[in-house]
Every structure is written in C-alpha cells, then in structure tokens.
Symmetry: C2
Subunit: 152 residues, 2 copies
DNA sequence: CATGGTTTTGTACAAAGTCTAGAAAATGCC
DNA sequence: GGCATTTTCTAGACTTTGTACAAAACCATG
C-alpha cells in the first residue's frame, strides 16, 4: 500500500467570515449560541493561530461574554467538527489554527511564534506503513527554528 | 537554497548501556552524580519514550533516589546536551526519547502510545525556505493515528 | 580537612486545563 | 406564545505538569 500526500487531509470545513456565522455553524451540526458565534467571529475573521488564553482575552475584551470553561468547550467542539486544527508544538499550551487548508508549520522556539508553510512547499514521499488496526488522523510536520543570533 | 534530509539531524550523542555510564556522562560534560547515573541507566537501557512522571516512578520504585525537581533538571540537562530528544505530541506532557537517531513518530491519539518510524521510511522533498534570520532546530514529523474501531 | 562551587531537595508556586452543580438559554411541542 | 425538556454556560474549586527558590548535602581540590 502506498500513501499519498492527500492522506494528510483532515475533515476540512471552512467558515466564511462574510457569510452569516450562525447558519454556517448550524450547517455543521453546532447549535449557534451567542458565545459560540462570538468566538467564531474572532477565530474565522482571518486565518490565525490562537491559544485558549488569547481567545478568552479577546472575547471578553469589552465586558464578559464567555467563561473559561466555555472557551475550552467551544474550541474543543470546533476542533472535533473540523473547523479548527489543534497544533501541539509548545508543551505549555495548545494552539488552535483557523486555517484548515492542508499546511505545515514553522515554530520559533525562541519567540513562541507559529507560522504557516503552504502545503506545496513540502512534499512527503515514501510514506511509512501505518501500524495494523490503525488509521490516519492527520500528519503534522513542524520545522522548529531558532532566531539565528539567539544564545543556545 | 535547498535543504536535504540531513538538516533534520540534531546533535546526536549515543549512550551505550553496556559501557560505564558515569564516564560517558563525563565525556559530554555532565558531572555523573548518583541520581543522574540512575536516571541514565533507566533511559538508555534501550530506546524508549518516557514522560517525567514515568521516570520519577521508575527511579524511585525501590526507595527514594531522586526528587521531582531532580528528574526535571536531569531530563532538561540531558536534552540540552543532545542525549535525549523532547517529543511534543501530547498537550499534557513531554516525552523524552532516548533514541537519538534521526527518526519520526506515530502517535496513537486513543492510547497515548508513541512509536518510532525509521528515518528511511519517510522522505521529505522540496523543503521550504526558512524565514530570514532563523536557523533549523530540528524537524518533527508526527503521524497521528487512531485505533480503527475507536469511536470518533 | 577546610573551602567553595555544584547538585539535590522539599515546598511553595504558577499556569493550563478539567470538573461540577446550579443557572440560563435554546429547543420542541401543544 | 407558553411550558417542559434538553443543552449550554458559569464560577470556582480542583488536578496536573512543570518551575522557583533557599537551605542542606555533596564533592573535587588545595
């Protein structure tokens, strides 16, 4: 059996910030509560990488909209539904990536900055056999980088 | 500029469990204290993936050998010296991999199991340009897998 | 065997994330 | 619309991973 790059593709659903958020959420089986819509508006305004902490801060910038538990619940829900991709590169927190197109990441270990690598800029060949009884849940490729002058 | 797979190579140092651990540690600039030797003996007996928690439990199985702080200090030290590779795939804890040869990982998201993929079984081509002013600190490729019958 | 730098230790602390029980909001049905 | 049922939200306590710190122990060297 051979695997192709297409196997990296996850369930991809794209929320269009120009269209009505509530009906798009309903379309993927998510009840569009006020909190979820507000969180979605922030995340899907443009492709971005945010931690739960950052989402919490932005959502509640002008008064209390959603609690910490709701942020975690909502991010987890969106990720399960394929609207967000969890990016695990920093042991201290999870990033949620609202760019659901196939792509990979640079992670600057000095600054904590996460940036996208378009899928076309990297090709994986000669893919390994998956262990028996398992199926792919996505492939993550992370280029860890360092600022060239930083002490290390 | 083109990158080759060799760029993935990190500082690689291999501890041989058959040889004297203390003198091998000394050779890489690590003072071989009793705690460090004991921790090294566990980690380098064979290639394995362990969390700090697991190391703590195994080290102190037959009486107190090392404290939590020492485990973290030692794992961090070994990783900085290139004896261990930190593997960040699970948001809840860091794995330390005593296989320092170039390789990648399967991570079973259902079981939390981490297994190796030999370097030869995967080839990366058409590598992306690194952002200006940065240098590589290693490339991680993680195949996230799921047990095929698991609910999801 | 005295000296002084390095390690280790216990404890306190910090931060990310989970859990829970009750309040509030959404939904479905008449 | 009104009302009952179900789902979601909230505040805060709790858990877990990991770090900070200061005192005690260790150990190489003269």
């Amino acid at each position: 059996m051979t695997y192709t790059h297409a196997m990296n593709e996850r369930t991809i659903l794209k929320i269009d910030p120009q269209q009505d958020i509530a009906s798009q959420l309903r379309k993927v089986g998510i009840t569009p509560t006020q909190q979820r819509v507000q969180i979605a508006e922030i995340l899907f305004a443009r492709p971005r990488h945010m931690s739960a902490d950052q989402v919490l801060a932005v959502v509640n910038r002008d008064g209390p909209i959603a609690s910490k538990a709701t942020i975690y619940n909502t991010l987890g829900l969106f990720a399960r539904k394929g609207l967000l991709r969890e990016v695990i590169v920093d042991p201290s927190k999870v990033f949620y990536d609202s760019n659901t197109a196939v792509h990979h990441h640079f992670f600057n270990v000095d600054t904590g900055e996460l940036t996208d690598i378009p899928s076309d800029d990297l090709i994986l060949t000669r893919m390994p056999e998956l262990p028996p009884g398992t199926e792919s849940a996505g492939i993550d490729v992370i280029f860890r980088i360092r600022s060239r002058d930083a002490a290390h």
